[in-house]
Symmetry: C2
Subunit: 147 residues, 2 copies
Amino acid sequence: MRLLASTDFALRVLMRLAAEPTARPMSVEALARDLGGLSRNHLHKIVQDLAALGAVRTVRGAGGGVRLAAPPEALSVGALIRRLEGDQPIVECFRADAGTCTLSPGCRLRGFLRDAREDFYRRLDGQTVADCLPAPRAPAGAIAGAG
Amino acid sequence: MRLLASTDFALRVLMRLAAEPTARPMSVEALARDLGGLSRNHLHKIVQDLAALGAVRTVRGAGGGVRLAAPPEALSVGALIRRLEGDQPIVECFRADAGTCTLSPGCRLRGFLRDAREDFYRRLDGQTVADCLPAPRAPAGAIAGAG
Protein backbone atom coordinates (compact mmCIF):
# COMPACT_ATOMS: atom_id res chain seq x y z
CA MET A 1 0.00 0.00 0.00
CA ARG A 2 1.36 3.37 -0.95
CA LEU A 3 0.41 6.98 -0.63
CA LEU A 4 1.10 9.37 -3.48
CA ALA A 5 4.60 10.83 -3.44
CA SER A 6 2.96 14.27 -3.45
CA THR A 7 1.05 13.38 -0.26
CA ASP A 8 4.28 12.30 1.41
CA PHE A 9 6.01 15.53 0.46
CA ALA A 10 3.02 17.67 1.46
CA LEU A 11 3.04 16.16 4.96
CA ARG A 12 6.77 16.73 5.20
CA VAL A 13 6.37 20.36 4.14
CA LEU A 14 3.84 20.86 6.93
CA MET A 15 6.07 19.08 9.44
CA ARG A 16 9.07 21.16 8.42
CA LEU A 17 7.09 24.39 8.72
CA ALA A 18 5.75 23.27 12.09
CA ALA A 19 9.30 22.56 13.26
CA GLU A 20 10.49 26.03 12.25
CA PRO A 21 11.35 27.84 15.47
CA THR A 22 11.07 31.32 13.96
CA ALA A 23 7.84 32.95 12.92
CA ARG A 24 9.31 33.83 9.52
CA PRO A 25 8.03 32.19 6.35
CA MET A 26 10.38 29.60 4.86
CA SER A 27 11.58 29.92 1.30
CA VAL A 28 10.83 27.14 -1.15
CA GLU A 29 14.61 26.74 -1.54
CA ALA A 30 15.06 26.11 2.18
CA LEU A 31 12.17 23.64 2.22
CA ALA A 32 13.57 21.77 -0.77
CA ARG A 33 16.99 21.58 0.88
CA ASP A 34 15.66 20.29 4.19
CA LEU A 35 13.32 17.73 2.68
CA GLY A 36 16.06 16.01 0.74
CA GLY A 37 16.11 16.01 -3.00
CA LEU A 38 12.72 17.44 -3.84
CA SER A 39 12.68 19.48 -7.03
CA ARG A 40 11.60 23.13 -6.83
CA ASN A 41 8.92 22.61 -9.47
CA HIS A 42 7.40 19.69 -7.58
CA LEU A 43 7.56 21.64 -4.33
CA HIS A 44 5.85 24.67 -5.89
CA LYS A 45 2.96 22.45 -6.97
CA ILE A 46 2.70 20.91 -3.50
CA VAL A 47 2.69 24.32 -1.82
CA GLN A 48 -0.09 25.43 -4.17
CA ASP A 49 -2.12 22.35 -3.24
CA LEU A 50 -1.58 22.95 0.47
CA ALA A 51 -2.57 26.60 0.06
CA ALA A 52 -5.76 25.53 -1.73
CA LEU A 53 -6.54 23.28 1.26
CA GLY A 54 -5.98 26.21 3.63
CA ALA A 55 -3.05 24.52 5.34
CA VAL A 56 -0.36 27.02 4.33
CA ARG A 57 -0.12 30.64 3.28
CA THR A 58 2.36 32.04 0.84
CA VAL A 59 3.88 35.43 1.57
CA ARG A 60 5.25 37.49 -1.32
CA GLY A 61 8.12 39.90 -1.40
CA ALA A 62 11.39 40.19 0.50
CA GLY A 63 11.44 37.77 3.43
CA GLY A 64 8.48 35.99 1.86
CA GLY A 65 7.91 32.28 1.51
CA VAL A 66 5.58 29.72 3.00
CA ARG A 67 4.14 29.38 6.46
CA LEU A 68 1.45 27.38 8.18
CA ALA A 69 -2.02 28.87 7.94
CA ALA A 70 -3.06 27.23 11.21
CA PRO A 71 -1.36 25.92 14.35
CA PRO A 72 0.09 22.44 13.70
CA GLU A 73 -2.11 21.12 16.52
CA ALA A 74 -5.12 22.05 14.37
CA LEU A 75 -3.96 20.21 11.24
CA SER A 76 -5.32 16.65 11.27
CA VAL A 77 -3.14 14.17 9.41
CA GLY A 78 -6.15 12.05 8.50
CA ALA A 79 -8.12 14.98 7.13
CA LEU A 80 -5.10 16.15 5.15
CA ILE A 81 -4.38 12.71 3.65
CA ARG A 82 -8.03 12.23 2.66
CA ARG A 83 -7.92 15.46 0.69
CA LEU A 84 -4.40 15.10 -0.69
CA GLU A 85 -5.13 11.59 -1.97
CA GLY A 86 -8.45 12.74 -3.40
CA ASP A 87 -10.67 10.19 -5.01
CA GLN A 88 -8.01 8.16 -6.77
CA PRO A 89 -8.99 4.49 -6.81
CA ILE A 90 -7.36 2.06 -4.37
CA VAL A 91 -6.87 -0.44 -7.17
CA GLU A 92 -6.63 -0.02 -10.92
CA CYS A 93 -9.83 -1.90 -11.72
CA PHE A 94 -11.90 0.70 -9.85
CA ARG A 95 -11.02 3.34 -12.42
CA ALA A 96 -13.91 4.37 -14.61
CA ASP A 97 -11.75 3.82 -17.69
CA ALA A 98 -10.39 0.42 -16.59
CA GLY A 99 -10.67 -2.53 -18.95
CA THR A 100 -13.69 -4.74 -18.72
CA CYS A 101 -13.42 -7.32 -15.94
CA THR A 102 -16.09 -10.00 -15.84
CA LEU A 103 -15.98 -9.88 -12.04
CA SER A 104 -17.04 -6.23 -11.87
CA PRO A 105 -20.79 -6.78 -11.62
CA GLY A 106 -21.42 -7.56 -7.99
CA CYS A 107 -17.74 -7.54 -7.00
CA ARG A 108 -17.69 -7.16 -3.22
CA LEU A 109 -13.95 -6.61 -2.89
CA ARG A 110 -14.55 -2.97 -3.80
CA GLY A 111 -16.63 -2.33 -0.69
CA PHE A 112 -14.22 -4.22 1.57
CA LEU A 113 -11.29 -2.13 0.35
CA ARG A 114 -13.23 1.10 0.85
CA ASP A 115 -14.10 0.10 4.41
CA ALA A 116 -10.46 -0.77 5.06
CA ARG A 117 -9.29 2.55 3.64
CA GLU A 118 -11.74 4.32 5.93
CA ASP A 119 -10.17 2.50 8.89
CA PHE A 120 -6.75 3.70 7.69
CA TYR A 121 -7.92 7.31 7.55
CA ARG A 122 -9.83 7.09 10.80
CA ARG A 123 -6.70 6.03 12.67
CA LEU A 124 -4.97 9.18 11.40
CA ASP A 125 -7.88 11.54 12.03
CA GLY A 126 -6.79 11.90 15.64
CA GLN A 127 -3.17 12.69 14.81
CA THR A 128 -2.04 16.19 14.01
CA VAL A 129 1.01 17.64 12.29
CA ALA A 130 2.25 18.64 15.73
CA ASP A 131 2.04 15.01 16.86
CA CYS A 132 4.36 13.99 14.02
CA LEU A 133 7.26 16.07 15.29
CA PRO A 134 9.98 14.48 17.41
CA ALA A 135 9.43 16.53 20.54
CA PRO A 136 6.89 18.98 21.91
CA ARG A 137 7.47 22.44 20.50
CA ALA A 138 8.50 25.07 22.99
CA PRO A 139 6.72 28.38 22.59
CA ALA A 140 8.86 31.09 21.00
CA GLY A 141 11.09 32.63 23.63
CA ALA A 142 10.36 30.03 26.26
CA ILE A 143 13.15 28.60 28.36
CA ALA A 144 13.07 24.90 29.19
CA GLY A 145 11.81 24.38 32.70
CA ALA A 146 10.52 27.91 33.09
CA GLY A 147 6.96 29.22 33.09
CA MET B 1 -3.79 5.32 -1.22
CA ARG B 2 -3.15 2.61 -3.75
CA LEU B 3 -2.36 -1.07 -3.76
CA LEU B 4 0.10 -2.44 -6.30
CA ALA B 5 -1.47 -3.29 -9.65
CA SER B 6 -0.10 -6.81 -9.19
CA THR B 7 -1.98 -7.14 -5.88
CA ASP B 8 -5.20 -6.05 -7.59
CA PHE B 9 -4.73 -8.58 -10.37
CA ALA B 10 -3.75 -11.36 -7.96
CA LEU B 11 -6.98 -10.88 -5.99
CA ARG B 12 -8.97 -10.88 -9.21
CA VAL B 13 -7.29 -14.11 -10.34
CA LEU B 14 -8.32 -15.75 -7.07
CA MET B 15 -11.85 -14.39 -7.34
CA ARG B 16 -12.16 -15.60 -10.92
CA LEU B 17 -10.90 -19.07 -9.99
CA ALA B 18 -13.28 -19.15 -7.02
CA ALA B 19 -16.17 -18.23 -9.31
CA GLU B 20 -15.35 -21.06 -11.73
CA PRO B 21 -18.25 -23.50 -11.52
CA THR B 22 -16.26 -26.43 -12.89
CA ALA B 23 -13.50 -28.22 -11.05
CA ARG B 24 -11.20 -27.89 -14.07
CA PRO B 25 -8.13 -25.68 -13.97
CA MET B 26 -8.45 -22.45 -15.94
CA SER B 27 -5.97 -21.58 -18.65
CA VAL B 28 -3.97 -18.39 -18.38
CA GLU B 29 -5.59 -17.30 -21.62
CA ALA B 30 -9.09 -17.64 -20.17
CA LEU B 31 -8.05 -15.78 -17.02
CA ALA B 32 -6.51 -12.95 -19.06
CA ARG B 33 -9.66 -12.69 -21.17
CA ASP B 34 -12.01 -12.56 -18.19
CA LEU B 35 -9.96 -10.09 -16.19
CA GLY B 36 -9.96 -7.50 -18.92
CA GLY B 37 -6.79 -6.46 -20.64
CA LEU B 38 -4.14 -8.15 -18.52
CA SER B 39 -1.08 -9.24 -20.50
CA ARG B 40 -0.15 -12.92 -20.47
CA ASN B 41 3.35 -12.15 -19.23
CA HIS B 42 2.05 -10.14 -16.31
CA LEU B 43 -0.47 -12.83 -15.51
CA HIS B 44 2.18 -15.56 -15.56
CA LYS B 45 4.20 -13.62 -13.00
CA ILE B 46 1.13 -13.13 -10.80
CA VAL B 47 0.24 -16.83 -10.97
CA GLN B 48 3.81 -17.69 -9.96
CA ASP B 49 3.56 -15.34 -6.98
CA LEU B 50 0.22 -16.84 -5.94
CA ALA B 51 1.64 -20.35 -6.26
CA ALA B 52 4.59 -19.35 -4.07
CA LEU B 53 2.09 -18.17 -1.45
CA GLY B 54 0.26 -21.50 -1.65
CA ALA B 55 -2.93 -19.89 -2.91
CA VAL B 56 -3.02 -21.56 -6.35
CA ARG B 57 -1.67 -24.68 -8.00
CA THR B 58 -0.62 -24.94 -11.60
CA VAL B 59 -1.47 -28.11 -13.47
CA ARG B 60 0.64 -29.08 -16.49
CA GLY B 61 -0.35 -30.89 -19.63
CA ALA B 62 -3.57 -31.17 -21.62
CA GLY B 63 -6.47 -29.65 -19.68
CA GLY B 64 -3.92 -28.00 -17.41
CA GLY B 65 -3.95 -24.47 -16.08
CA VAL B 66 -4.44 -22.80 -12.73
CA ARG B 67 -6.72 -23.66 -9.85
CA LEU B 68 -7.14 -22.66 -6.24
CA ALA B 69 -4.96 -24.57 -3.80
CA ALA B 70 -7.48 -24.07 -1.00
CA PRO B 71 -11.20 -23.40 -0.69
CA PRO B 72 -11.93 -19.69 -1.26
CA GLU B 73 -13.44 -19.58 2.24
CA ALA B 74 -9.94 -20.34 3.58
CA LEU B 75 -8.15 -17.55 1.69
CA SER B 76 -8.07 -14.41 3.82
CA VAL B 77 -7.98 -11.19 1.81
CA GLY B 78 -6.03 -9.42 4.55
CA ALA B 79 -3.40 -12.15 4.80
CA LEU B 80 -3.05 -12.22 1.02
CA ILE B 81 -2.68 -8.45 0.67
CA ARG B 82 -0.09 -8.30 3.46
CA ARG B 83 2.05 -10.81 1.59
CA LEU B 84 1.39 -9.52 -1.92
CA GLU B 85 2.29 -5.97 -0.92
CA GLY B 86 5.35 -7.20 0.94
CA ASP B 87 7.44 -4.69 2.79
CA GLN B 88 7.25 -1.86 0.29
CA PRO B 89 7.20 1.48 2.10
CA ILE B 90 3.92 3.40 2.49
CA VAL B 91 5.66 6.60 1.49
CA GLU B 92 8.78 7.26 -0.51
CA CYS B 93 10.78 8.75 2.36
CA PHE B 94 10.63 5.43 4.27
CA ARG B 95 12.80 3.77 1.64
CA ALA B 96 16.26 2.92 2.85
CA ASP B 97 17.72 4.65 -0.22
CA ALA B 98 15.54 7.76 0.03
CA GLY B 99 17.23 11.16 0.03
CA THR B 100 18.18 12.72 3.31
CA CYS B 101 15.29 14.47 5.00
CA THR B 102 16.12 16.56 8.02
CA LEU B 103 12.85 15.43 9.61
CA SER B 104 13.81 11.74 9.60
CA PRO B 105 15.42 11.58 13.05
CA GLY B 106 12.52 11.22 15.43
CA CYS B 107 9.82 11.54 12.73
CA ARG B 108 6.66 10.15 14.29
CA LEU B 109 4.59 10.14 11.11
CA ARG B 110 6.24 6.83 10.22
CA GLY B 111 4.75 5.04 13.22
CA PHE B 112 1.32 6.61 12.70
CA LEU B 113 1.20 5.43 9.10
CA ARG B 114 2.27 1.92 10.09
CA ASP B 115 -0.47 1.75 12.70
CA ALA B 116 -3.00 2.99 10.15
CA ARG B 117 -1.84 0.41 7.61
CA GLU B 118 -2.26 -2.28 10.23
CA ASP B 119 -5.87 -1.11 10.73
CA PHE B 120 -6.38 -1.38 6.97
CA TYR B 121 -5.08 -4.95 6.90
CA ARG B 122 -6.94 -5.94 10.05
CA ARG B 123 -10.25 -4.95 8.53
CA LEU B 124 -9.54 -7.29 5.61
CA ASP B 125 -8.25 -10.19 7.73
CA GLY B 126 -11.80 -11.33 8.34
CA GLN B 127 -12.78 -11.26 4.66
CA THR B 128 -12.12 -14.20 2.39
CA VAL B 129 -11.96 -14.61 -1.36
CA ALA B 130 -15.35 -16.32 -1.14
CA ASP B 131 -16.77 -13.20 0.54
CA CYS B 132 -15.69 -11.09 -2.44
CA LEU B 133 -17.90 -12.95 -4.89
CA PRO B 134 -21.31 -11.56 -5.83
CA ALA B 135 -23.39 -14.43 -4.48
CA PRO B 136 -22.90 -17.52 -2.33
CA ARG B 137 -21.46 -20.35 -4.39
CA ALA B 138 -23.75 -23.30 -4.81
CA PRO B 139 -22.11 -26.69 -4.31
CA ALA B 140 -21.40 -28.51 -7.58
CA GLY B 141 -24.55 -30.26 -8.74
CA ALA B 142 -26.81 -28.49 -6.27
CA ILE B 143 -30.21 -27.23 -7.36
CA ALA B 144 -31.37 -23.87 -6.09
CA GLY B 145 -33.87 -24.32 -3.29
CA ALA B 146 -33.16 -28.01 -2.87
CA GLY B 147 -31.51 -29.79 0.07
